[in-house]
């Protein structure tokens, strides 16, 4: 008995020491991420472990994708070189803690902006770089033209345990249609089941539908229905309480989109320097513009973004249209051309 007491005693001392060690945690760094980024000479960017068109590696080990371009834009703005980015592939589960712990400084990993994430976990969403939403794919031979054509007993293939499954349940409930879910763990299995005719329709985010259809025997046999049943605005995230860094990331994204609005791209930006339009002059960093100073950068920051990466439209074309992931821009078209892509003025 005495021995047991001794053991318990020593263990509790050990536990006490360990807790004491943990006490320093949670303290916030006082220096801005902008300054540390400038001094260390690279941007620490968190990306996915492979989402087609958004963040992906190629066979030579370079990261590409529309989410990757956000990090490259920040690197071009802050450090002058879009290639000065260190990528960390993150799983969906660890992405937020990696950002909080300072392992990364920007999370650009097709993350949906929701109230809960923005408000309760010490993070800030800086904008939207892709408007996604859940859609349905059907065989052309079924003749279905709209989600309103679904009849009772429709078999729906989808992934297990995601918001997709919940959205689908809400949707069919609101329509009063009885459906039969066919769920699988992996996207590959879902596609195979649908392709083998085990379901009438396949539902997931629209950005993934087209990409997944390239795995099917005959991709031309299938069509994505026009309706979108959920809102999934995806955008980059930074730590809360570092407004300098937040501003740099936000305006790097904004100028990236605004450049397309004013027709400035990587090919014509040098000739655009002659433009008389003040908005374009601000983007190319003509004399007298003060945007860069306000952000703690030099005045060529936006010029470098467009010169090295191109504007949003070029990035979209390169990553999502040419690769056939989402050839139609849909809501991701500029507001001037019928989409909902609208950013505050860069001035």
């Amino acid at each position: 008995m005495k021995n047991i007491m001794k053991a318990i005693g020593s263990l509790s001392v050990l536990a006490f020491v360990l807790t004491a060690c943990g006490d320093g945690g949670g303290a916030k760094k006082t220096t801005s991420t902008l300054d540390t980024t400038k001094s260390q000479g690279f941007v620490k960017c968190g990306v996915s472990q492979g989402v087609p068109g958004f963040s992906n590696a190629d066979a030579s080990g370079n990261w590409t994708g529309i989410d990757v371009d956000v990090c490259r834009a920040v690197a071009a703005a802050v450090l002058g070189d879009a290639s000065k980015v260190k990528y960390t592939g993150l799983s969906a589960k660890e992405r937020f803690t990696a950002l909080q712990a300072g392992e990364i400084d920007i999370l650009s990993r097709n993350t949906t902006w929701t109230l809960e994430r923005d408000a309760s976990i010490g993070l800030t969403f800086v904008g939207v770089n892709f408007y996604d939403g859940q859609g349905f794919m059907v065989r052309k031979s079924t003749g279905l033209k709209s989600v309103n054509d679904f009849k009772n007993g429709v078999k729906v293939c989808t992934n297990l345990g995601t918001t997709t499954e919940l959205n689908m349940a809400d949707f069919f409930k609101s329509k009063g249609v009885k459906y039969e879910p066919v769920v699988f763990e992996k996207a590959d299995e879902v596609v195979q089941a649908y392709d083998a005719g085990r379901c009438d329709t396949y539902t997931t985010d629209k950005s993934a539908l087209a990409a997944q259809s390239t795995k099917m025997k005959d991709p031309t046999e299938h069509v994505v229905l026009p309706e979108t049943i959920s809102k999934e605005p995806l955008g980059p995230v930074v730590r809360q309480g570092d407004s300098k860094w937040e501003d740099v990331v936000r305006w790097s994204l904004n100028v990236f989109i605004e450049a397309e609005e004013y027709g400035v791209n990587s090919g014509n930006i040098d000739s655009m320097k002659e433009s008389k339009n003040p908005a374009i002059q601000r983007i190319v960093g003509a004399e007298g513009t003060k945007n860069g100073e306000a952000l703690g950068l030099d005045n060529q920051w936006s010029y470098r973004i467009i010169k090295q990466i191109g504007n949003y439209g070029e990035s979209y074309k390169r990553n999502l249209a040419d690769t056939n992931i989402m050839p139609e821009r849909g809501p991701n078209q500029l507001w001037t051309k019928g989409g909902i892509l609208y950013v505050p003025p860069v001035r």
Binding site: G25, V51, K86, Y87, A98, G102, N319
Partner: protein, 348 residues
Amino acid sequence: MNKTLNYIREKFFSSPIDAFLTISISYLIYLTIPPLLDWMFISATFSGESKKECVSGGACWVFVKIWFNRFLYGMYPNDEVWRVNLPFGILVVSIIVYRFLNEKYKKYLFLFLIIPFPILSLMLFSGGFLGLMPVETREWGGLFLTLVISIFAIIFCFPLGVLLAMGRRSNLPVVRYFSVGFIEFWRGVPLITVLFMAGVMFPLLLPAGTNMDKLVRVIIAITLFEAAYMAEVVRGGLQAVGRGQYDASKAIGMGYWKSHIFIILPQALKLVIPGIANTFIALFKDTPLVFVVGLLEILGMVNLAKTNPAWLGMATEGYVFVALVYWIFCFAMSRYSLSIEEKLKTTN
């Protein structure tokens, strides 16, 4: 001719049940093997540069060919891969040479392999001295990462496991309760949880500004986890060594450590070689779980590659390749442990 027929009748058709089994299994083989061979070799595509060249309907090995460096080295810069190849080359050569060396030099080679060699290799992998480009661990991946994790975890978990096994049988209560507590704790939690804690929760507990490399955290986590299993395997061996051996070593004046190192452990470990090999193989096959903390070992790299827009739909080829790599390594480990068993075989 008659002899062959007789042989077949005896071995495959000796009773109606046997005949039925023979025929149905042959049919099963007929159904599966030819299409498999056809897919893997006959209609497979081996040459080319992109998915477009794979039109034959068979396996598209072009995928593995193009991505080969990524599957082997992860994001390690292509120009620097010699720094990975060199230490692994030395390791393979050393293991082969080790078999043919005489006892006197074996000791030195062994000491070199377990102490300076891993340290030198790690320095070479990470670089940053003598003009070598620094390569951060976040760029390590593929088979290289699988091997780094498993080799270091194996090197560390073995001595720790032996100590824990001895601790669990110790007469000192603090040591005993600590060992029991440690073993039961780590055996009671799933590896995926341990990795998740090490990869995701641990950095939040550290004071601000300090950071421990994720790979180091993961290797420590796997080491502690596997050490608990190793301890129980070794404890089985310790129990199997006769009481007489303990008494005899005590009688000739050996203390606790001396008797364990020279008398007890050599016998105990010899008995549990299959169990140790089992634990090592299991450890090796547990490494893909590091996926949950964002490390891309060989399976993670295949998963990343198959989501590249230019290579969608190549999952099967990738998985077959990974299965083959795993099988080669696990089979080699199993054979190696068998050969050690053979060599140390003595009639007790």
